[in-house]
């Protein structure tokens, strides 16, 4: 399956899913006018790819702000990843935020609560400019 890339706008995050490599990334702010129509296709693509391939997955989440419906969309994504991980596929989620961003750190704790098979870690944000990939992590 091909890559999925949606450039960031003021209200929607960058979506950069490199499916062939298994490296996925969400970055920026997320409070779309219509969260369902923004995240719907993203979730569909993710689920289809999870079903069709078995390469190891890494998802970088680097959101600086998100609204409640984006939070729900994230939980749906994590749930899909958890299901894949439960089936034996290696899945890592890296939650990236500033070291002193207490709210984001608490969100990370909340979001990882139900992930038993996904390897969930919290890390510093990538370069603020944002497109570089940290393959060493």
């Amino acid at each position: 399956m091909d890559a999925l890339r949606i450039d960031a706008t003021r209200r929607t995050p960058l979506v950069d899913f490199d499916f062939p490599a298994g490296v996925l990334r969400l970055a920026g702010e997320s409070y779309p006018d219509d969260s369902a129509s923004f995240f719907g296709p993203v979730l569909t693509a993710l689920r289809e790819w999870l079903a069709a391939s078995d390469v190891p997955v890494r998802l970088d989440v680097e959101l600086v702000y998100f609204n409640s419906s984006s939070a729900k969309a994230l939980m749906n994504m994590f749930q899909a990843l958890e299901t894949a991980a439960a089936g034996g596929r290696p899945v890592r989620v890296i939650w990236r935020c500033d070291e002193d961003d207490d709210a984001m750190r608490e969100f990370a704790e909340d979001f990882s609560e139900d992930l038993d098979h996904v390897e969930f870690t919290v890390a510093e944000r990538l370069d603020a400019a944002g497109s570089g990939r940290d393959d060493a992590a």
């Binding site: 939070a71 939980m75 969100f107």
Partner: protein
Amino acid sequence: MSFNLFAAEEQVIEHADRLRERLADVAPECCEDLGALIDAFRRSYRDQRRLVRVSDRLQAQLAAANEELERRRNEAETALVHLREAQDIIVRSERLASLGALVAGVAHEINTPVGIAVSCASHLADATQRLRDTVDRGALGRSDFTRYLATATDTTALILANCERAAALIHSFKQVAVDRASSERRVFKLGPYIREVLLSLQPELRQGNHTVTVDCPPEPELDGFPGAVSQILTNLVLNALQHAYRDGRPGTMTIRVTGDDPVELVFADDGAGIAPDDLPHVFEPFFTTRRGEGGSGLGLHIVHNLVVGPLGGTITAASEPGRGTAFTLRFPARAPMPHEDGAAG
């Protein structure tokens, strides 16, 4: 024990778990489906808890941001009040400073005629003493007396002329000073008034060898605020000296008045000019290219306010870098009465 917002959901889950245990004996074939349903409900219940926390936190962030916004707005408003107070003080001290310059100008100008009068008077006193000595010696001849009369006639004429000049200067300065200190309204002739104002600026003009030519028909008689006119012209001339001729080159400024109602007054210099990027900002308060060198950037703002306010007119600036600057004022011969229209004040 603390109050649990999700007690009902948890009870439902407990209840469902017990139901599944009971069902294990009676309908084992349903057990697995029910288990999946319970898990899904459990997940959804945890999602819900999480979402409530997410939105509470966002709500709190929003409230904090609003408080911060409110605090900054208050700070900005306080700063604005302070700025306005400071501006008032500067405007007042600027007026005092220009009065100070006026007094210095007066002293300088009056020095010359008074000096001439003093030396003529002492010359006359010497001649008179000599005449008295001659008379005392009983040696007064006709030619002595004729020479004394000639000296007396010349010196008294000079004394009179110079004292009259000093008196005229004092009169015009007094007028300018009073006008400038007050905002008195009266009828005055524009041409002679412009010349009186320029007289008070002579020391500064002479220092740099600058000249100002006035081209004004004698007629225009204005009913308005000479103090404002004086302050406007003084500011424009001093600005030209400070900004247009910084290289020390002597300059020529012109004041040209045309039309009698509305009156158009153009003040032009042939100096450095104003950069195109600066030109739209020169009337803004605190805009100056001489910050740190004593420029407050209020001069032209005050000029603008005086033209638009008391004079009820307009002012525009045009400039060509390297060739000079021209300010064009247009205002009615009869200034608006206060409250006559919204522009006054």
